[in-house]
Amino acid sequence: MYAQMIKTAGTGVKSREEMSEQERAFQDKIDADIKIEPKDWMPDDYRATLIRQIGQHAHSEIVGQLPEGNWITRAPTLERKAILLAKVQDEAGHGLYLYCAAETLGVSRDEITEMLLDGRMKYSSIFNYPTLNWADIGAVGWLVDGAAIMNQVPLQRTSFGPYSRAMIRICKEESFHQRQGYDAIRKMAEGTPEQRKMAQDAMNRFWYPSLMMFGPSDKESVHSAQSMAWKIKINTNDELRQKFVDQTVPQAEYLGLTIPDPDLKWNEERGHYDFSEPDWSEFFDVIKGNGPCNVDRLAARNKAWDDGKWVRDGLLAHARKKRGAKVAAE
């Protein structure tokens, strides 16, 4: 999930009696699966929650360029380099659609970018882990994008129109990325002993952080209940995590890679795999800023933004001159 630990604004789900007439009409539309569009009335808390969620998702796409970009200059073949460049370009494009969707809620891209840069807004914890060998690029596509897709597929049906439409486009590209990632790691799993070692090393480091992408259990969460009632969130974190594990285990077996969980086993009765929870204290450390790469990632984004100021100012000044000249001519 590219947006995680989104705190839902408000005090929890209201009963119909507690709702105002406007709120009732709004909830009726959601219940009837009618999309909410930017000009429609919406509760302030719905708007605030969506800004947080879409903003965090957009920031994740942007920061996510860094761990993948880390390998573009070292990609082992021209084809792999081209595939990775195309993928990272897609991610930046996703960021763009999502910032546009957030703008329809009344925040500018610059405003929420500033909030990312000064730490008021977060991005997915997964991008605070490093990419250390080439198989990591396969693992990011296969596991990280795989986990993201689990969450994003249901979000295609989310209640806010612009978010839902952005998600439909994004999902198409993400599925493609996941297949490419799997292909890259498969090639290594079938390769030399050193390549197999890289693939297993990537698996060992990315398995638990991928499970963390769904966020801690939220079965009992009041916040989650409100987001689900608003159809901003469709499934619980645990449902999605289970689905991800069930899908991924046979794929890992096919590759001959070992999932670093001795307690992982098929549970006939449940019809699902049983698996170990990730270390949630590590997750909260990463969220608080203590992951292996938090400081570097934010520093890189801040540097790009600060170094680029003269470029943005220059292009803006030029556009104003052109506009001025055009007006003067008319």
Binding site: I62, Q65, L66, E68, G69, I72, T73, R74, A75, P76, T77, L78, E79, R80, K81, A82, L85, A86, V88, Q89, A92, G93, G95, L96, Y99, R109, W134, A184, K187, M188, G191, T192, E194, Q195, A300, K303, A304, W305, D307, G308, K309, W310, V311, R312, D313, G314, L315, L316, A317, H318, A319, K321
Partner: protein, 252 residues
Amino acid sequence: MTRDEAFLQFLLRMGDNTLILGHRVSEWCGHAPVLEEDIALANTALDLIGQTQMWLSLAGEIDGGKSADDLAFLRDAWDFRNVLLVEVPNGDFGRTLMRQFLFDAWHSIMLGRLMTSSDERVAAIAAKASKEVTYHLERSSDTVVGLGDGTEESHARMQEALDYLWPYVGEMFVSDDVDAEMVAAGIASNPSDLREEYDALVGRVLAEATLTTPESRFAHKGGRDGRMHTEHLGHLLTQMQWLQRAYPGATW
């Protein structure tokens, strides 16, 4: 020099230019001044790497059945035939875009000529690449104009970038025996014949950008014939070729 030997050198010059510039541009990934530029830079790099695959595949055919990857990842610096312009480090965004513009202008004129090459394979690659490069040139020209004629700071930075890069321009128009052989075979034009059109194009854009074209015609040379690259190329190759060198024979 046989015609095949000359043809190989010509193809390496085309493919190494796009390979090395594509690599340089891809270094920007995630660090551009604004999201649209991140997308555009990745897209440019992607086009250039795609063109590299076409040029170096054909070069590999001529060179005894090597693959494009063999040529990209297993040659040392002295075998590279790119002009020095494309291997100079990115510098700030202004220098990157100025370098792009100075190259795109040459590239678009060159590809336009190659579309009528007597060698059908060359003509086909040029036709495909030309569509992409027309767009590269449009974008880099617009950016050079926008920043040249932007704020005082952006103007100063673009002038500085132009002054730094200008001595690397001349090498794109030097003609040697390889070029003479290509002209004789009807495969490619003489590079020196492109200069007039280039100067007109570049002059027009730089004037609109309110930048001053340096008067000196001094040219750093040595990339196209491999006589002497810059110190920067070795570092670039160290990074680009690392996996192939560290794990020989592996397929990826």
